[in-house]
Subunit: 256 residues, 2 copies
DNA sequence: TGAATAGTGTCTGTAAGACATTATAGC
DNA sequence: GCTATAATGTCTTACAGACACTATTCA
């Protein structure tokens, strides 16, 4: 369409306009549960997603992604952040736009174009929220379980797409840090990566990340105020070196 | 916002709805111009973008990205493909969604949320179109030039974002093939990459791409029906081996 | 024969990948 | 001393990076 025509069309009010532009948010967290052994050991980690049970029409009773309609005074990104804060009580978390959903008929309420975000949240933020808010209509599900359910609207597709996106980014960006404390051990990092990408298996993971030129700039040893290397024995008898992300990310390339 | 409230809000018609959801398309092409030497030589390549001169309000006379309003019977993706076909006459090209633009006030016509796509088109497709359509209101600009102009709406930002995106993808995906013939020489591939990412400089490019285990699966030698290796002397006295993309793309990873 | 591109030889240092081995400390 | 995790040693093969060199064809 020629923009000039578009304007005439718009000015004349000939065409239907959308009935709403919501933001829907796929809120992921990784829960850690201690394995019930006596001795210290690495926890079991699971990727979970926050869903909300709908009360009214449409899809009453079914579980859906949190979200809500944008106002004309905000960007869809602002809207998503607002919804996230209202839903989880947290403000400063990783939130990222990833796709738009506009298939005609996807929402029985009308012509509604949804903007999908994913957010990565530490489990402790959600744990607090869930305890405070005793409503049974907000709940964490394992992603596997959620994908097996009938979700409202096209939310199963949105969830699947978000998962694919986060999986891809787990290996090509440093989003792993969103699921980790500021300082973490190599094992924790490895566990987080494998929680998202089970097929990622690196026998010599510790070596690659700590002693190959091209990669060792990604993380650095954590040191205390006296410059001593910091260690942790959270998960092991033998204390493990703590690391932190430097913020540097090497440019990946197919061709070099 | 609780989806339930959202519904009530919607049902009650209390809130304003968007005035339109257009798709805007950043159509890139790479032009080749022969360097005016007598002998065969590699062409000069330049990244260009297709712009349209607006006729009416708003931004009359200014250059803008092609695009148009979505209908309620199509997805924004369908809309973008339709616009692209109307603008360039070509159907089967790489088109990809990359961001949404919703800053309040970005369009003086009202609350208009724009969905931005980029398309990668062979120059010959656009050349034909431009010859047929002698209108002076559709024109290819070098990206550099376009970014120096005052574009309508927030289209300069959209163009910049599209460029960043394509640059990133040039090194991490095989979109280079969208700018190349089915069968191409290593030099052509290298030129296309460098047209988008001038700082990409690999002295031993031919070796890396053809003889390192981890990368040589990306392209393969082109062979004719008798199994003979195909060569080209388009750009050189000495004939060069032709290659084709296999479709295989190794999974890039920060951690391995 | 010189210009322009295509492609190979060779060398050095470093990384990858596989496995075995040692280290630590709580039980 | 057994166990779970952390970390290092060692060896082979492969790749990266540099640079000189050869190959092809035509004007």
């Amino acid at each position: 369409m020629n923009p000039n025509l578009a304007e005439e069309n718009y000015s004349a009010g000939k065409y239907r306009t959308p009935d709403g532009a919501p933001a829907d948010i796929v809120i992921f967290t990784i829960t850690s549960t201690e394995r019930g052994t006596v001795k210290k050991s690495l926890p079991h980690r699971e990727l979970q997603v926050l869903l909300i049970q709908r009360k009214g029409w449409p899809f009453a009773g079914q579980w859906a992604l949190p979200g809500g309609f944008c106002k004309e005074t905000e960007t869809v990104y602002d809207c998503a952040k607002r919804e996230l804060r209202e839903e989880t009580g947290v403000g400063e978390v990783h939130i990222e736009y990833f796709n738009v959903y506009s298939t005609p008929g996807r929402d029985p309420r009308g012509w509604i174009i949804s903007h999908a975000f994913f957010a990565l949240v530490h489990e402790q933020y959600l744990a607090g929220r869930q305890a405070a808010d005793d409503a049974a209509d907000v709940k964490l599900f394992s992603v596997e379980e959620a994908l097996g359910m009938e979700l409202a609207f096209d939310h199963k597709q949105i969830l699947q797409d978000a998962l694919d996106q986060v999986r891809r980014q787990m290996l090509t960006t440093i989003i792993a840090k969103e699921f980790l404390p500021e300082e973490f051990t190599i094992s924790e990092l490895y566990q987080v990566i494998r929680t998202l990408v089970p097929e990622f298996e690196e026998k010599n993971f510790i070596r690659k990340i700590t002693s190959t030129q091209s990669r060792k700039g990604i993380i650095e040893e954590a040191r205390d105020s006296r410059g001593e290397r910091k260690v942790s024995n959270r998960y092991s008898q033998r204390a493990a070196q703590l690391y932190r992300f430097t913020g540097d990310v090497p440019q990946l390339s197919l061709y070099s």
